[in-house]
Amino acid sequence: MTESKERLPAQRTWMVVLQKVGTPIASVALAIIVGSLIMWVSGYDPMAAYAALFQGAFGSPKAIGETILRATPLILTGLAVGYGFRAGLFNIGAEGQLFMGGLMAAWLGVEMAGQPWGVTVPAIIVASALAGAAWAFIPAILKARVGAHEVITTMMFSYIARYLVSWLVAGPFKAPGPTPASPMLGLSAQLPRIQDLFSESTLAALPFLGLGRAHTGIVLALLAAVGVWFILKYTTLGYENRAVGFNLGASETAGISVQRTIVKALCISGALAGLAGAVEVVGLHHRIFDQFSAGLGFTGIAVALLAKNNPFGIIPAALLFGALSAGSGTMQLVAGVPQKIILIIQALVIFFVGAEQIVLWFVTRRQKEAISGAE
């Protein structure tokens, strides 16, 4: 039996590529099909709806800009949730960390009014990341020390953050005026729009640069993706993160401090979510108000799952959901389909991706079982 056991499953390249990319694409396709069914059953025209969606997401440079705009924080929340998943942790409360990051950004932006851009914006970025990390710290410690499930704790902290922001923008941090919102951030505390980086004549000559509301935060998001990739592949931090995510017992036996790894992972996840909040405040809203970016945390979960927690895969996944979000307004306007259908499609994607992975895993497991011989 010793010889026959050495037979390994074929690892041809096309099969590997298919495995990595095929299932997410199939999941999205399936979700879109089921979405169309729902639309059709509800009396809407799916073709018209999707055409409008496409128009709203990709139909013009401004639309593409809107897609990029919406995708920017999703890259960051996707990275946040994905990084947590790599360590075996489900940071469902990324929303809360996002709020805290945004809060820090708004507050610091107001405090530092008058300082040059080169000082303010980097400071905001660092501080927001720290704020997000800090908000994840208690759930992290509770998970590491006591085993409290991070799904419940981060979810609770999410609600707490929401009420905190709600109180602040109606009270101590409120700008004068009728709306409960913080004061507007000045130019020195803003991330400029991409199209504002170019002169009028350039924009006239190259209209595809007229990207509407898309802002330079996208650069930050892309850098973060590279950063996460680097951490996971080349650092001991990333190695231990993955080890703990796969096998706690073996990691422990090898001398890895599981507790510390969990805390680090959740805090880094929180930091990335905090950055998402900062980017929203500093690049888009320029202030903070109640529910200023609801849903980005949850969409981040869909992004991470779709991308299978791969930092580079998260970029196209985020663009997909950004497109869905950007196009949903046009879809409602033109085809009458309620925007909430997007949530349904997101949920379906999560569900199908989750199911696909298991089917795949099951197939490879049976192969492995056969090779090592049934017990």
Partner: protein, 520 residues
Amino acid sequence: MAVLELRDVTKVFPGVVANDKVSMTLGRGEIVALLGENGAGKSTLMNVVYGLLSAERGEILVDGEQVKIRSPRQAIDLGIGMVHQHFMLVEPLTVTENIVLGREPGRLGVIDMASARKRVAEISERYGLKVDPDARIRDLEVGLQQRVEILKALYQGVRILILDEPTAVLTPQEVRELFRVIRSLVAEGLSVVFITHKLEEVMAVADRIIVMRDGAVVGETRPSETDEVGLARMMVGRDVVLRVEKGAVSRGQTVLQVRDLVVKDDRGLDAVAGVSFEVCGGEIVAIAGVGGNGQTELVEAIVGLRRPASGTISLKGKDITDASARSSIEVGVSHVPEDRHRRGLILQFNLAENLVLGDHRVAPYAKLGIMRLREVTAMARKRIEDYDIRTPSEKIVASNLSGGNQQKVVIAREIGRNPELLVAAQPTRGLDIGAIEFVHRQVLAERAAGKAVLLISLELEEVLSLADRILVIYEGRIVRELTAGEADAETLGYYMTGGGGKKLDAETVPAPPSESEVGQ
């Protein structure tokens, strides 16, 4: 007419034929031993009979009639019962609850506990399998848990009983007790299939022996017609050296010193209750004992996975009592864990990543937190070659390797680190003969290189063939120390049960073995 017959049963998993046209019979009142090494297909075959797996081809006949067994429920209804190697017992529930699970007496859905307890007591009495019906499984020791498993099958009214590697966790005395039980069951009309890879047991209890290898039946014989050497040859297909050659090595300095060590288990009880011993360079000290007597906690304390309550552990004079797992590795303690899937390897990592596990923070594999993948790859390739790990590349994911090769990876990593002390816990569990030979050779090589080796094993054969000194552990204490020359299976078994077998029934406890009894 045979009470159970298999004709050309074939079971295939993707890539491997686990059972290849297997045919066998079981007569009424017969004890048939299904012999083969790990991976030969014996358990798979019986899982098919018990309805846990379905065969691609072949027929099963019970009492001459062909049947289709698609689930354990159907098997039980046909009178087939199985006691698995890893017990199917629910720990927090009581003995009675476990036994009646699935066939609970009662009306309208409410369980009649009194009636259940009565039936359990009846069966227990009838077959001589005494156990406390209200005890919780997690409080029972392994031998008693096995009794509950057998009672479960009897409660379900089986006529054919399949036992899968039942003696893996028993002492020689408990094994003899088990054989007595089997014989009394057979006297009551049951028929028994006994799966094992242990030659001496087969010779002791079987009426007929069916040998399997690589998924097929390679021979059928009776104890009167063969001997252990002959059986081994059938099992493996070539002449087998039953014991690895061990040369004489001079003992060096004391490497590991354990003094008055007390270690508590997860429930706060003393798992290790005051243990002292030493291991010197160039020697293999084995800790022999029935599972659950503190070996696991002792190992965990030594390698830094559990903090002792009191006492000291020192490595070459340096105190490592409270050292973490990481410090222990840094200081020179290597650990081959008893569960390679849960603790030894990360199955989703590739071989290179597994081979650097534990050393991934230090030079030359990492610098300032950045990993130096070139160095890791070079090391991995070298280890793969030095330890003859069968794989096309270091980038293969560990889950794709066979059990034997996986263990080679663990050993390559732990020994490759050039430790002062090697702690090997059940290093050959679940491995086939070739892999077992490899592991034994590696362990002996460490010894020859002047390293200290602490071996923890349930396999008495392994202990006797490898160890220079043997410490018997019982209820958290070292109750006896023997040199290799002084020890044999009977004596070890005697001390492993406390040198008097307090846990067994009085009538089955032997006196310390005399010369005439050895080799029964």
